[in-house]
Each structure stands twice: as structure tokens, then as C-alpha cells.
């Protein structure tokens, strides 16, 4: 890990780095979306997709998949990544095998699931060809589906651009007391990931001070965008960047702030469970989402940053390479998630 942190791109996604003493990786052979796979998937007729992706993207994506492969119904099981993690743990412990495809905004979850041996190796050929290797687990158990950011944003009707914060430290200014909303790391993988990065960069004392600013505490990273759009609060401390952009693009008075300290970056790994009741449909869905077509769909609809190199990011959004992002450390989150939640609750009381 120390070696990798020197290399920026590789260090972005440490969840994909080899763990511990494991030296030999066992990358499975790449597989195509063959007619046989499609036929087998159709026989299963359904697939369940556990995800933290905002419903406004996840459901249309599911519908697009259903349209592409008629006869396969997708059940989207959407909650905050931390909540999805609890549910999966609860279901697996009770031997209820329902999850086919899992997708989380907390990359640490895949470290835990890999450790448990719950993930099935499966490597779509599009992933083998077109996804950067640092985004692919060396054992082919999971790969990044897309990348997004957790940004600050504000409602321009409530804050003049001149008064807007430039970064995280600005949010401690007394003039923002009672004007902010933020998500919760006990619920959201995006916020959990961002909290780990910000506490590393700015120290926990930052959150201690932020908690005194009378912040409206919501759960999901998808809610602060909706709250500032509704005008309930002027500034979002965090939240999924693509939802801020979508609101702005449909004419809402929203402005995104790329913090001077750096912006938390969040990868969204995806994989198939060994216990998947619909293994073929699961593989087909993963293959399609990782294909240029599936990736293009996500980009067109939401403007998140694609994992597939053949797909360009959405026009009008800042290039990922141009943004000062903070380093992702999934393995640290995997070890310290409980501490992070406890520390956070100590300051924010919930």
C-alpha cells in the first residue's frame, strides 16, 4: 500500500490492490456475452441488484437492461451502502440467498466480502480489455463500475457566489451556522469514504467544529442535493456530485464547489455473489453494465465517471483528471469503519 500511494491513479483504488500475503493472483478467463449466457439468463428470468446508486439512475438502468434482454426482470434493492452491507450480512448469516449482483459506494465492503469468500470470480471480456487494471480485483471477484465524487455545493438563490465557500475549512465560518446539510457515514458509503479521507486530511477536530455549526443531518449522499434544490438549506457539505450536476443541468440554482483542500473520490465496485440464485442473469447484467453500451447509459443519464476506457465522460462536466481529488483508502475504511462511525456520532450526536 505504501508503495502504491506514490502512484496517484493506482492509489485511488486500493481496494483492488492485492491483500496481505497473497502473491499469486488467480484471474479467471475473460468471458463474453454469448448467446448461451443470454439464453441461460432468460431461463432464470430475473436478477436482483443490490446497490447504493440513486434510484433515478439505478431504476432506468435496470429498465434499459430489461429492454435489451426481454424476459429478465431486475429487482433493484437500493439503500445506503452501509445499510446494504448490514442487510447482506444479515441475509447471508440467515442463509437467505437473494443477492445476485452487489454494487457499493464503499469499496471496503468488497474487501470484507472477499475475505468472507462470498464473491464469485467472473471476468467479463469488456473488463479484461477496457477497464484499467488498477480498477480490477486481481482475482476477478469485482471491478469498479463507475466513479463519482462527494462535493460541496450550494443554492445560488440562498448564497451569493461571492459568499460561497471555497473549501471545507470555509464551512466552519460562523456565517454558515444553520445553513448546511450533510449525509451520514453510518448510512452512506459515499459519506463513509469521504469522512475517512477528510478526517485523514483535516483531522477529526474538523468534524468536531463542523458539528457545532447546526448542520441538518440527513442519511444518504443522495439527499443533500435534493435538500439544497428544495431550498431547505443553502449549502451541502457533501453529497453525490452527479446529482448536484443533474439539478443544475435541469435549471435549478445549484453550483458545485471543488474544494481547495481536495474533493473526496468514490469508486463503486460491483461483483457477483457465489450464492446468487440467478447466476447467469447476474453475469449477464454485470457484463452489460461494464460494456461500452452499459457504461454509456450511465454516463448519458447521470454523468458519473465511467470505468470503461472506451466511454468518454459526459460533456460539460469537469474532467476527472483536472480535479484535485483525495486519495481513496478502502483497506483503511475496512479496518476502521466502526471507529469512524463512533467518532462521527460522538460529535454529531446521531
Amino acid at each position: 500500500m505504501r508503495r502504491r500511494s506514490l502512484l496517484k491513479t493506482a492509489a485511488l483504488l486500493p481496494a483492488f490492490a492485492p491483500l496481505g500475503a497473497r502473491v499469486v493472483s488467480a484471474m479467471p478467463a475473460a468471458e463474453a456475452m454469448t448467446p448461451a449466457l443470454i439464453e441461460a439468463a432468460r431461463k432464470e428470468g430475473k436478477v436482483s441488484y443490490y446497490t447504493a446508486m440513486d434510484l433515478s439512475v439505478a431504476e432506468p438502468m435496470a429498465k434499459a437492461f430489461e429492454a435489451k434482454f426481454p424476459g429478465i426482470k431486475v429487482a433493484v434493492e437500493r439503500s445506503g451502502a452501509e445499510r446494504v452491507f448490514s442487510r447482506v450480512a444479515q441475509e447471508m448469516a440467515s442463509k437467505i440467498y437473494r443477492a445476485d449482483v452487489v454494487n457499493s459506494s464503499d469499496a471496503a465492503h468488497f474487501i470484507a466480502w472477499k475475505r468472507e469468500g462470498w464473491l464469485a470470480p467472473y471476468l467479463p471480456d469488456d473488463v479484461a480489455k477496457d477497464v484499467p487494471s488498477e480498477m480490477v480485483d486481481p482475482d476477478g471477484l469485482f471491478y469498479n463500475q463507475r466513479t463519482h465524487l462527494s462535493t460541496i455545493a450550494y443554492n445560488t438563490k440562498l448564497v451569493a457566489p461571492a459568499d460561497a465557500p471555497k473549501g471545507f475549512m470555509d464551512l466552519l465560518d460562523p456565517k454558515y451556522v444553520g445553513k448546511m446539510v450533510k449525509g451520514h457515514p453510518g448510512y452512506s458509503g459515499t459519506i463513509m469514504t469521504a469522512t475517512q479521507q477528510l478526517s485523514r486530511e483535516l483531522g477529526w477536530s474538523y468534524f468536531e467544529k463542523l458539528a457545532k455549526q447546526k448542520v441538518l443531518q440527513v442519511q444518504s449522499a443522495t439527499e443533500p442535493p435534493k435538500r439544497i434544490e428544495a431550498g431547505e438549506r443553502a449549502i451541502a457539505v457533501d453529497g453525490s456530485d452527479y446529482l448536484f450536476w443533474l439539478a443544475k443541468e435541469r435549471g435549478s440554482p445549484i453550483e458545485v464547489v471543488l474544494a481547495v483542500e481536495g474533493t473526496p473520490q468514490i469508486s463503486n465496485p460491483m461483483g457477483v455473489f457465489k450464492t446468487a440464485p440467478n447466476p447467469n442473469a447476474a453475469r449477464l447484467m454485470v457484463s452489460w453494465i461494464m460494456s461500452a453500451e452499459g457504461q454509456q447509459f450511465i454516463v448519458d443519464l447521470s454523468g458519473q465517471y465511467p470505468a470503461n476506457k472506451r466511454v468518454k465522460q459526459k460533456v460539460g462536466r469537469p474532467a476527472l483528471s483536472s480535479i484535485k481529488t483525495l486519495r481513496e483508502e478502502a483497506s483503511v475504511v475496512a479496518d476502521k469503519a466502526d471507529q469512524i462511525k463512533a467518532q462521527y456520532s460522538k460529535y454529531f450526536k446521531v
Binding site: 442487510r87 440467515s94 444518504s220 428544495a230
Partner: protein
């Protein structure tokens, strides 16, 4: 005749066994967990944490404040309203009753979400209107729902109907002769009210206060929606947070036990108060209730009643309708902004909608039927002290009141994720949870109806040689049919409203609408919430209206039989 087999005893044994499965087993596991550490060794450490760690003491205190305030507010509002509706010539009294029932159909967490739309400090519609009218600056607010007061207000909005219905029903059942006698002896209207009506209604009001207290104590949805944004926890939200990964069921179980003890104490106190008063007011005769003439106060009374109804009903539904058809929940719908986007999203895109609807209404129907039958049987046994150990039944049927739904959820989870009964992941575990949670209310309702039916009617039947079951079927049943239908509706609505146990017990395939709404709330998808809420409320209202036709039809039968 006398040689005929009396099935009542085996039936009662079955009831006791069922209650054990529903209550004793999960609660047994809870107690075991409360006194265990992570490794399963006996310890008191959980209770030390509970009573010393501010992270637990603060929610405990907050919860008690909420429960006391809610109970007081509910009684203060429900008692006069119940009297106005049942005993005066206030206009629109019948409409008012129907509308109170309608407000009861509203799940409290939906009410809480609707009140967020109305009274969030900045985007709340009421605050916006006030700002427009008075020019109040943008950062100030008339109402702030994200406060302890706001939370108590919202909980009271959806708890007072319970108290109101109890009081109004009691006043209906009270024979007019006693009041007539009082008047004939020269007492004025108010003296009669004070000396006769109020004392007769008092036990019911006490029961209502207790129900309100316990509802507020155990409620999960409203605090989860309003307290967390405000930065505080109640005991239920705290307990819930203990089930996030990694779960801490030991601490959760320990947190639940003080509630159990408190509730048992309160229920005992209540039965002592009721025990001193014989109030079987329905023998063979039935007197029409007296009507007090309000005179010039008729109109103000009706206006007051409708204002109070606007809080749980008119305003929240206006807000939900607005949100359902608005692109952004904080904008008022105009012909220009009107959109069907939320409706299309909810029914065409959201893949959980239809399965959740189906689960919900199947469970509600089953739970209502099982719950009403069970409540009837238990109430009968207890009221007539038909078998030895009836006290145990009475306790078991009331005990779930003391168990926060969320804790019952955990108890059931602990009990039924292991052999021999592996029910987790099926609808059965939810059925058990819902019946258990609704049983106390159902039971209390039917029991108070039993209190009003004098046993001499049954004794007559028994003397003529009918078995206990036959008597129950032929004599007590018809007399209680209206109550039984009301109880069925009560449970049906209760299941639609239930969130706290479901939130622990659901799996992705057994999701109910309440959980779906909660999921949507956590991601801020209020448009879909509004559409879903309005849909389940409409369906529920249709079901209740149907059941009530049944009730009215049978009522006339009942009156003919008795007179």
C-alpha cells in the same frame, strides 16, 4: 345437550401456545441477550452502559419527555372533542368521526414526512406562506419541525385519534338514564357532566392516556424521520442504530427492558384503578345518550374541531398532494409546474412498488383476521375468567404494548433465524410480528366491549345447556360484532402503519410499503413517497369503508336481537 363436547378448553390451550410462540420465545431471547456479553457470558455491563453512558441516558430522558407530553396533549384534546362529538349537537359531528378515523389511517411516519414538507424551517410550505404574507426574512421560520417540540407535536397528531375513539365510544355506550336521573334530581347540565358523565368516562380516559403514553414511548418512524436531522435520538432510534453493522443486540435488549418494567407497572396501576369501579353499563337494556345543546357555541365548536383535524389530516394531505404532482417538493404546484413524473416513476420505474404493495395488503388482511379472532378469544377468557391462568393470558395479550416494535423485531429475529422454526425471510415472521404488535390494542378494545356486556346474558345461555363456545357464538358474538369489525379495521390499519418491527424483519423479498417509504425517505425521494402514501391510504380507506358497511349492517341485527 349437556353431553356435547366442549371444545373451548383445547382451543384455549392452543391460544396460550400461540401466544408463547409470539411473545415468550422472542422475549426470552431478549432477556438472555440483555444479560449477556458478546461472547454469551452473563454480565450486567449492558445495564451499566445504559444508565451511565450519556449516549443512552439522553435518549432515555428524551423518550420519557416525549411520552408524557404526548399523553397529556392527547387527553387534553381528545376528551373535550370526544364529548363534543358524542354528547352535543355540534354540527358535522358524524363527519368529524369519519375524518378522525381517516387520520388514523395515516401512517405516523407518513405524517412526519408530510409535516417536514409543511414545517421544515426554510422549505416548509407553511413557512413559505408566512414569509410571503409577513415578509419574514429567509433565515427565520415560524415553525421548525426539526425540534423536540416539533416531534412531540407530530407524534400527538397521530396518537390522539386513539384516545378520541376510546372516549367517544365510551360516551356512546354510557346509558342516558343515569344522566336523565341526574337532571330530574335537579342537577344542571354541567353538574351532570361533572358528577356522572366524567366519572363514568374517566376509566376510559385513563386507558387512553396509557395507550398514548405507550404509543409515544415505542414509536419509531416519526423520531427516525425528525429527531435524527435535529441531532438527537430517542430510545427507539438509538436501539435501531445498534443494529447497524456490527449489530449490538445485547445493548439493544438491555435498553428495552426498562421500558418493559415501566409499562408493566403502568398497566398494573390501571387495572387497580379499573378494578375498583364496576362499570358494566350494558345489561339487557339500552338507553339513548343525552344530547347537550350548545346553543351559540355550536359553530365555534365545529370550527375548533375542524381546526384540530387540519393538523393530522387536511394540511398533511395537502402537502402530500402538492409533492406528488410537483417537480420539487418545496414548490407549490401550478398548472405550469404540474407533473406526473413522480407517479410514473413510482409505478413504472420503481421495481419495489408492486411487490411491496402486495406484501402489505396480504399481511394486513391476514393479521387483522388472526388478530381479531385471537383478541376476541382472549378477551372472553379474561372477562369471564373462564380458565385457570387467565391472568397469564391477560398479561401476555397486554405485554406487547411494552415491547417497542423494533425490539420485538429483534426478539423475533433472534428466535426465528434458527431451527426448529426458521421463519426469517418469509412473510410468516412479519405476520407474527404484526399480530403481536396489534394484539394489545385489539384486545383492549374488545375487552372494554366485554366489560359492557353483562355476563348474565351468557349465564342464561349456559344455564339453558349451551356450551361455552356455543354461548360465545350465539350470544356474546353478535353483541360484540360491531366491536369485532372495528377491531379488524384497527389491526388492518395498524399493520399498514407499522414500520418498527418490519424495518428489522424484512428481507428484500418480503419488503412492505412502510419499509419502502422509509428507504425512499433516507434517500430523500419525497415525490415517490407522496405517491405511495396517497395510494396506500386510498386503498386502506376503501377496505375500511367496506368493512364498516358490514358493521352497520350487523349493527341493526344486533339491535333487533337485543330489544
Amino acid at each position: 345437550m349437556t353431553g356435547r363436547l366442549d371444545l373451548s378448553r383445547p382451543l384455549m390451550v392452543a391460544v396460550v401456545a400461540l401466544l408463547a410462540v409470539m411473545i415468550v420465545l422472542p422475549m426470552g431471547w431478549l432477556v438472555v441477550y440483555a444479560f449477556s456479553d458478546k461472547a454469551g457470558h452473563p454480565t450486567l455491563a449492558n445495564f451499566v452502559t445504559l444508565f451511565t453512558d450519556p449516549a443512552f441516558v439522553d435518549p432515555l430522558v428524551t423518550t420519557l419527555i416525549i411520552a408524557f407530553s404526548t399523553s397529556a396533549i392527547c387527553c387534553a384534546i381528545a376528551a373535550p372533542l370526544g364529548w363534543l362529538v358524542a354528547r352535543t349537537d355540534m354540527p358535522l359531528a358524524r363527519t368529524f368521526r369519519v375524518l378522525v378515523m381517516a387520520s388514523l389511517v395515516t401512517p405516523p411516519f407518513v405524517g412526519a414526512i408530510a409535516w417536514e414538507m409543511l414545517a421544515a424551517p426554510n422549505s416548509g410550505l407553511l413557512n413559505q406562506v408566512w414569509r410571503m404574507l409577513t415578509g419574514m426574512p429567509p433565515d427565520e421560520s415560524l415553525f421548525d419541525i426539526y425540534t423536540l417540540t416539533g416531534l412531540i407535536f407530530v407524534i400527538a397528531c397521530y396518537t390522539f385519534p386513539y384516545v378520541f375513539i376510546l372516549v367517544a365510544n365510551a360516551l356512546d355506550r354510557m346509558p342516558g338514564e343515569l344522566e336523565d336521573a341526574s337532571s330530574m334530581l335537579g342537577a344542571g347540565t354541567w353538574a351532570t357532566a361533572r358528577r356522572i358523565t366524567i366519572p363514568l368516562a374517566l376509566p376510559t380516559l385513563a386507558a387512553g392516556a396509557l395507550i398514548a403514553f405507550l404509543q409515544a414511548l415505542n414509536i419509531f418512524g416519526s423520531p427516525a424521520i425528525l429527531a435524527i436531522p435535529a441531532g438527537f435520538n430517542t430510545l427507539t432510534t438509538k436501539i435501531w442504530s445498534l443494529f447497524a453493522f456490527p449489530p449490538k443486540p445485547e445493548l439493544a435488549a438491555a435498553s428495552a427492558l426498562p421500558l418493559l418494567v415501566l409499562t408493566v407497572a403502568l398497566l398494573r396501576a390501571q387495572s387497580m384503578v379499573l378494578g375498583k369501579r364496576g362499570y358494566a353499563v350494558l345489561g339487557g337494556k339500552y338507553g339513548a345518550p343525552r344530547v347537550v345543546r350548545l346553543g351559540g357555541l355550536r359553530l365555534p365548536a365545529a370550527v375548533l374541531a375542524m381546526f384540530i383535524l387540519s393538523l393530522p389530516l387536511f394540511l398533511p394531505y395537502a402537502a402530500l398532494l402538492n409533492t406528488a404532482f410537483s417537480p420539487v417538493s418545496s414548490q407549490f404546484v401550478t398548472p405550469d409546474t404540474f407533473t406526473l413524473r413522480n407517479v410514473i416513476f413510482t409505478f413504472r420505474e420503481l421495481s419495489s412498488t408492486l411487490p411491496a404493495m402486495q406484501n402489505t395488503f396480504v399481511l394486513a388482511t391476514l393479521s387483522a383476521t388472526v388478530g381479531a379472532v385471537l383478541a376476541l378469544l382472549i378477551a372472553y377468557v379474561v372477562a369471564r375468567q373462564a380458565i385457570r391462568g387467565w391472568r397469564v393470558l391477560d398479561f401476555l395479550a397486554t405485554a406487547p404494548l411494552a415491547i417497542p416494535g423494533i425490539v420485538l423485531g429483534v426478539g423475533l429475529f433472534l428466535a426465528y433465524t434458527r431451527p426448529p422454526l426458521t421463519l426469517y425471510g418469509t412473510l410468516w415472521i412479519l405476520l407474527i410480528a404484526f399480530v403481536t404488535i396489534e394484539l394489545p390494542a385489539a384486545y383492549q378494545q374488545i375487552r372494554s366491549a366485554f366489560h359492557s356486556v353483562h355476563p348474565e346474558l351468557e349465564e342464561a345461555g349456559r344455564m339453558l345447556g349451551a356450551t361455552r363456545l356455543r354461548t360465545l357464538w350465539d350470544i356474546t358474538g353478535p353483541l360484540l360484532r360491531a366491536s369485532a369489525v372495528a377491531t379488524w379495521c384497527f389491526v388492518f390499519v395498524g399493520v399498514i402503519r407499522e414500520l418498527s418491527a418490519a424495518v428489522i424483519l424484512f428481507t428484500s423479498e418480503t419488503k412492505v410499503v412502510a419499509v419502502l417509504i422509509f428507504d425512499l425517505k433516507e434517500s430523500g425521494d419525497v415525490g415517490a413517497i407522496a405517491v405511495l402514501s396517497l395510494t396506500i391510504v386510498v386503498i386502506t380507506t376503501i377496505v375500511i369503508a367496506g368493512a364498516n358497511r358490514l358493521r352497520v349492517g350487523r349493527d341493526s341485527v344486533r339491535l333487533r336481537t337485543v330489544s
